[in-house]
């Protein structure tokens, strides 16, 4: 099975998890974003250009599934894929995925993603810019980065073994 077909199935599965199950992990209205982790993974495995395209595709699919503000996730996840692509190194993919670098990359990418996302998402509401970036954006980033520990440990175990 082609790698990209596998990515499609995983994307569908993760989208279902993000929309249906991640609400169980919601803390004070903050939900981790596993699709961002997934896009960072694709970027580290495939490079910048595929990650950008996958980012757009995953974001648009997520928007269409949720039906909430169509185009916003497509925009932010395109940027997400593009930025994560800067950390692509063909020879160190396994090393990066199985180390703290993976978390740092997710942290950076997620921070940019969430900042853009919440700035746009909170427009026209009574939530100010500072609260949008610091409270919602930064908290979601930290939560997502924390959740990245699970795949990081999995990759570390897989590649070390």
């Amino acid at each position: 099975m082609s790698r990209h077909v596998k990515y499609v199935f995983i994307t569908i599965l993760l989208t279902v998890i993000q929309t249906q199950l991640m609400r169980l992990l919601t803390l004070e209205g903050i939900t981790p974003d596993i699709l961002t982790i997934w896009i960072v993974y694709i970027a580290l495995r495939e490079g910048q250009l595929p990650a950008t395209v996958w980012g757009f595709g995953i974001g648009l699919f997520f928007d269409l599934v949720t039906g909430n503000f169509v185009g916003l996730s497509a925009l932010t996840k395109t940027i997400c894929g593009f930025i994560a692509g800067y950390f692509y190194n063909e020879n160190k993919t396994s090393l990066t995925l199985g180390s703290y670098r993976f978390i740092v990359i997710v942290l950076i990418v997620s921070l940019i993603h969430n900042t853009v996302y919440f700035i746009i998402f909170t427009q026209g509401s009574n939530i100010g810019l500072v609260r949008a970036v610091l409270q919602l954006g930064f908290a979601t980033t930290c939560y997502t980065a924390t959740l990245t520990l699970l795949p990081m440990f999995a990759f570390a175990r897989k590649y070390i073994s």
Partner: protein, 287 residues
């Protein structure tokens, strides 16, 4: 051939640039596509963003408006120039209308206070540089105008009708060598005959040196005239002088009517007192 080669070269160069920066090109395309999809939404966020965008564009335009746009300035200058010409033309027309309004008001006042019947007329022809000056007016026999009827304006006596047709009449002005009218000094009731000898002023003739005439005295028509009603203003005395060996005063009279600017007049359509004229003629014949 050379042009085609150049265009192929340019195309190749473009493709090379796209391939070198393909990540950025793809990013730009996908961001634009995302923004287009975002713009298709109609929710609070997009409305707020549209509002900010309009505000930002307004601020940008306001900031850029400081930089003079030569083409726009030229066009604006042309428009303003055209506007100035149009407004200037309109001001002239309004000024003309105001003057006409003032004249007509004065004439209306005269008509309301006059004790005789008046026919309003417009001056359609005029000669002022001859010894026998006349005006042509646009009323005639159809309007009841006949020869010898006096012509007046709001300023005073103008002359009298000498020739009529059905729709037009010719008036003899006071500035005509053949014109004569009985006149008097309003203040001292001294009588004389008003005439014109081709000079700058009218002359009040047949006033003896002993009569009381002063500069500034108003001259009007007298009751002795068979043609003109009494007390119509003729002008005022500008100078009196005496010549040795002459029994009469030389009296210059400035006409109250400004003949060069004369545009509207009235014809007094009252008929002469024929009985009086007849007895006067009979008396003259029997003498």
């Amino acid at each position: 051939m050379l042009g085609a080669s150049l265009s192929w070269l340019e195309m190749l160069r473009f493709i090379t640039i796209v391939l070198v920066f393909k990540e950025y090109v793809v990013l730009a395309l996908l961001v634009i596509l995302s923004l287009l999809i975002l713009g298709a939404n109609d929710n609070t966020q997009i409305r707020a963003i549209r509002s900010y965008t309009v505000g930002a564009v307004g601020i940008l335009q306001s900031a850029l408006s400081v930089i003079p746009n030569v083409v726009q300035l030229k066009r604006e200058n042309e428009v303003l120039h055209q506007l100035t010409v149009n407004l200037s033309d309109e001001v002239n027309r309004l000024r003309e209308a105001r003057l006409e309004n003032l004249r007509l008001r004065a004439m209306l006042g005269l008509k309301e206070h006059a004790t005789f019947t008046l026919a309003a007329a417009e001056v359609v022809g005029k000669s002022l540089h001859l010894l026998r000056n006349t005006i042509t007016v646009n009323v005639g026999e159809n309007d009841g105008v006949k020869p010898d009827m006096p012509i007046i304006s709001e300023s005073g006596l103008v002359g009298k009708i000498i020739v009529t047709s059905r729709q037009y009449s010719i008036g003899q002005l006071m500035l005509n060598k053949d014109f004569r009218a009985s006149a008097k000094i309003q203040r001292s009731r001294v009588d004389g005959i008003i005439a014109w000898d081709g000079g700058d002023y009218l002359r009040l003739q047949n006033v003896s040196k002993t009569q009381d005439v002063k500069e500034g005295d108003v001259v009007t028509t007298s009751e002795y005239s068979g043609t003109f009603p009494r007390d119509i203003k003729i002008g005022f005395v500008s100078k009196t002088s005496e010549k040795p060996g002459n029994l009469f005063l030389d009296i210059d009279v400035i006409p109250s009517v400004d003949f060069p600017s004369l545009e509207q007049v009235f014809i007094i359509t009252a008929v002469k007192d024929t009985e009086r004229v007849a007895i006067e003629k009979k008396f003259i014949r029997t003498k």
